[in-house]
Amino acid sequence: MRRKIAPYLLILPGGLWLVIFLVVPLVFMASVSTQEGDIVNGFVQTFRLANYTDALVEFKTQFLRSVGYGLAGTVLTIALAYPVAYWIAFKAGARKSTYLLLVLLPFFVSFVLRTVSWKFLLADDGILLQPLKGLGLLPADFHVLQTTAAVIGGLAYNYLPFMILPIYVALERVDPRVVEASYDLYASRRDSFTKIVLPLSLPGVFAGVLMTFVPMTSDYVNASILGGPANTMIGNIIQTEYLVNNDYPVGGALSFTLMAAMLIGIFVYAKALGTENVLEAAAR
């Protein structure tokens, strides 16, 4: 008897936590997303599904832009993270943990503070651009802040460790004997990498993508601090709808659409990558 109950007892705290703080708000939000009204006169449940189409039509630009930024940011983080993870896993020797700590070090500083510091670094007449402009290498009206590049760069910077760590874990688990065996079978270094190491590390890349693409797409801090009027992301819109306009139905509809779009995207991606089970891949 006890043996049967124990697992349930173990899941109880976490389960309750999820039910209270995830399931209940989700149900509430689903309800709100089909209501009509305003905050002063109250919202009435009319099961108005047109809230979804209305919101999507109105904000499709920001939706597509967010997905685009999320994808670009993810690709950029993979490009930056893979070599770093590879180097730490295979070449760092005894000092692996030191380097891992260095990767994590920026996380000891607040997320917002890190992003704000970019503003000082990249200011039009700041320490980086001023000298280059002075040397005539850049035109006088060149700027980085409030551009698409700044937002995507900020996203990639802020989520980089979430990509490095899972790739590192995957690479770390590659058995060196397998690589040796590939050389014994006359594989070139390149073949050995593309046929042995890369496939074995893909689950790590997949987990990294999960942990970066999803939060990047719904991020709103980078767009609001580093972006300009043409860089508004869907996260900024949802925030405005909730907190400024108090238009809960539109905010709810947008949140659910975003959630659905990302779930579908992730499952398609999992299928394409041949990973049967998303969660299993993430857990690896």
């Binding site: 149900v27 509430f28 689903a30 309800s31 709100v32 089909t34 209501q35 009204g37 305003d38 905050i39 002063v40 006169n41 109250g42 919202f43 009435v44 449940q45 099961f47 630009t61 920001q62 503003k119 000082f120 200011a123 039009d124 007449d125 700041g126 009206d141 700027h143 802040l145 409030q146 609001s224 601090i225 972006g227 300009g228 009027p229 043409a230 860089n231 508004t232 900024n236 819109i237 405005t240 909730y242 907190l243 400024v244 306009n245 108090n246 238009d247 809960y248």
Partner: protein, 420 residues
Amino acid sequence: MTTPPRDLAFLRGLTQSRSRGGAPITRRDALRVGGLSAAALALAACGVQGKKVAPPAPSAAAGYWADKTKHGTLRFANWPLYIDKDGKRYPTLEKFTKDTGIQVTYQEPIQEMSTWFGKIQPQLAAGQDIGYDLMVMTNGFQLGKAIALDYLAPLDLAKLPNFTANAGDKYKNPSYDPGNVYTVPWQSGLTGIAYNPKYIDGEITSIQDLWNPKYKGKVGMLADTQEVANFGLFLLGIDPDKSVQADWEKAAQKLQEQRDAGIVRKYYENDYVDALVRGDIWICMAWSGDIYQQLAEGKNLKFVVPQEGATIWTDNLCIPKTSQNPVDALALMDYIYQPEIAAKIAEYVTYITPVPAVQDVIKADAAKATGEDKKALELAANSPLIFPSDSDLAKLRTYKVLTPAEEKVFEGIFQPITQG
């Protein structure tokens, strides 16, 4: 003609599902349906209650205050750097405690009206204490909502003799709160144009300059829709207070042109000051107090009230209806309307005080002071940013007061501009 044999099994197969036959609904099905309807019920039940109220009768204030007594404590929520501060001490609040015996817990949790309202709204809607007895809210959508939703305590003006005696006439009886039923002003400020003379030659006098292609990518506008809208309206020579939807659309079109031409660098919240000082932008919409503080620090910036007009806004003291110590809150509301007290606050926060007598107090203080203090006080006493001239005052307009339905239209017109 022969009648085909009636195959009962065949008939049943046509009309009923095969596996179950005529069996009653299984337990699992019942659960499934039950679960669905419970979810539907939850969906239907989760309506958000609105609570619009008629304006209270004069007797409402008497009714609210009848059973309230002084407790000797007060929890005050304000914006950062918005009261005189000496190191970690607040001299005005300490003096208040000495004079009245009321202990003040002073905090600065308000960064922006929309987020603040988002934070307190659920508790106020549920009739719960928000943890503060007195708070400062800008005249705008959120204050309008707080009044319309009956979240604020009606004030007992008989207990505010200093306000009645000392507040300037133009700070009384505002359009957003006729008769000062719920609010009294804390400080006011102007939204005008600030620019950095290092990059801009000549004097800036007009809102047209914010549309000047010469400053492409170096113009900052404010993200607040009411602020941006007012400037669009000023540009067209329309008084925001008298504007109608057709005017809003015209103003929005102008703002859109400005944006599409790449003139606007960004729609800023309160981070435009840094951008202006750093040179990311050269000219921008700006709040008078922010720029005054930069001037006082010796920065080379200019602030102008453009000839077409500028916005005056007011931050207001108000008491949430769920306040635990409303009598104590009312006491502080009145206390700060003594000219000497108002002067101490004005000298520090450098926005526009609702007590005109403060100018003389500051002048007198300046006459007595020496050195750096004297210079600072003289700068304050003569600053048009703290004591706007009559010609400037004539150009100032407030935000238009909007009903919830109008607000939706208004936001629908102007938000696409700032939100891209």
